[in-house]
Symmetry: C2
Subunit: 395 residues, 2 copies
Amino acid sequence: MVSKDMLRYGTVRSCIRELFEYGKQRAAVVGEENVYDFSLGNPSVPAPEEVNQAIRNIVNELPSKAIHSYTSGPGSNTARTAIANNLNKRFGTDYKFTDLYLTAGAAAALTAVSRALTIDDKTEFIAFAPFFTEYSCFATTAGAKLTVIPADIPAFQINFELLDKSINENTQGVIVNSPNNPSGVIYTEETIKGLAALLKRKSADVGHPIFIISDEPYRELVYEGKVPFIPHYYPNTIICYSYSKSLSLPGERIGYALVPGSVEDHDDVYNAIAGAGRILGYVCAPSLMQHVITRCADIKPDLRPYIENRELIYNGLTEIGYNCAKPSGAFYLFVEAPNGDAQAFSNMAKQHDLLIVPGNDFGCPSYVRISYCVDHDMVKRSLPVFKKLMEKVRA
Amino acid sequence: MVSKDMLRYGTVRSCIRELFEYGKQRAAVVGEENVYDFSLGNPSVPAPEEVNQAIRNIVNELPSKAIHSYTSGPGSNTARTAIANNLNKRFGTDYKFTDLYLTAGAAAALTAVSRALTIDDKTEFIAFAPFFTEYSCFATTAGAKLTVIPADIPAFQINFELLDKSINENTQGVIVNSPNNPSGVIYTEETIKGLAALLKRKSADVGHPIFIISDEPYRELVYEGKVPFIPHYYPNTIICYSYSKSLSLPGERIGYALVPGSVEDHDDVYNAIAGAGRILGYVCAPSLMQHVITRCADIKPDLRPYIENRELIYNGLTEIGYNCAKPSGAFYLFVEAPNGDAQAFSNMAKQHDLLIVPGNDFGCPSYVRISYCVDHDMVKRSLPVFKKLMEKVRA
């Protein structure tokens, strides 16, 4: 009576969601202070006060129709111009507002880009483990295939040999996510240069551009080193961005797809993304939030709470004896399961009301993800539990 | 290099959009007061002050994280409860919040429902001309076929004989839109009873429920008669609703799909819609707007400006000699092209900077649509132009 695929997508809960719901139940039983929930990537830093002040000002200053009416499908020119100006200031680019297509967050941008670049049922996209679990459903439901390159452990950069072998004439795009969810690792400039060189060579081999689809919700959340701006290295880069993490607005669904002028057949790529946005039923990105971004495009997030948490949990776990990926950005720490089995280790932790996500769904079954976008005190309280777990494994 | 379908959807502008853009250009040349733009269905009534006050209160009263964080995929329980309570009060139903799935407007709800109900590439949906042009793209891109039942002219009810013949074992849903865009007509209780009886019989024949998908963005915009509440007549009704018109929030993208408890296999249908919402990349409906609806679910729109416009344009055109469909709801007047050819008549009107949408794309090539959600003075100023056109046709 209904689509089997849609029913499955709607019924099978993600492992993250399961843990989060379990945490809420346990909190009701044992008390909130006794549950250590590191499951969700929901920013613990509130939206900057400038954002809420912008909302007040917009409602007080503008006529209601200017705030809440339809914008054009790609978004208002003023919001897109504000974003282009911000990028141009920071990266020395000369993007125009017509290079930007506003979306309901990065997930919407990725969905639209996947559809736009899917030629037929032979189309392939490539992702690198560990990767955001929804990539596979975005690619599959676009009618394409997602090829996963196994994780480059322990550096979590890119295994170029495997990538080289995986590209063929049907490869349309390679999805890059740096700073990375779930590893917290940033691709080095060397990695990006290597990737660009390989893709240039391969594009020439297959006779069409292979796009980099750069998923960048964590671009501003950087604690160590720099995030190379990929269009500087590779012209056929499409950026999918979200203000969910940088302005702590995950529920508001506001972000964009950027198609730089350097992209081959720029207008076709841009228009196909717009077409996908249309058939996906988006109409336009939420209009009040477009006004907010117009006024807040230059606002920087307050990283202090994440820096403090990162310090505490990284040093704490390392001291206990855990092996962690270098946590340079985002708000995740990717930790090797000391028993070698992430699912079993997550289950063991759950017994102590410590909720950490096994890397299995991220394509990395020997690591667990710790989201440290949480209350600092909870991080403190959790360390003895991590210690107990390590002792248990070693016993 | 890109999907041909997506490129086409992104490049071929709707006729409505073309006219609207043309109007903006002409206004720059001949002055805004000399362009009579009846093309868009953008509410001219601003959002009720309660809505903007709710936004101020939410930002002032709630912690930032409570406003802007992810909600669960189907929407916050409080927003869904507020909507269920409003419906239950008005329609004597006993809907639960778990029957509601919040969406980024009715387009998102229709897209998700189309995908949820598409079993395979033989699946068919049925729409009645005149119909909202995007229906065909929602159905087609879900992988299904849209069958259009020709318009029942001049009453714009339903031609049951043709409907009867068009239903087969692959028919999954019949899309109903009353008050109707573009005709402004409301289906009578007799029509809804007839439809329910026919679909009950046909469902039994084909051995599975044929759903009514009721697209109801104009439910509250009623000037004459009543809008029958379809779930009272037919249990397998799924409602797609939007606050775009009732609260004048079209840019904010907030609405819902309602799966009443009476729907067969309720949970499967609901979960398949949720699965579709997930793979379409929606994540959740915009969170601040969920709070707004929590507080404003009971607010009624100010219909006075539409009532005044309707009176003026309907009487004015009728007096000149135009034949109009009975404009009972929404903010559209559907007018027979006096020369019998809507496209030609729209072109002729365009020469006089009068912008009206030919019914061709709505499946009704002998009528034009006039959106009277516009400035009252423009309606006044336009009447002599309508008169001139009629004289031209008669000459």
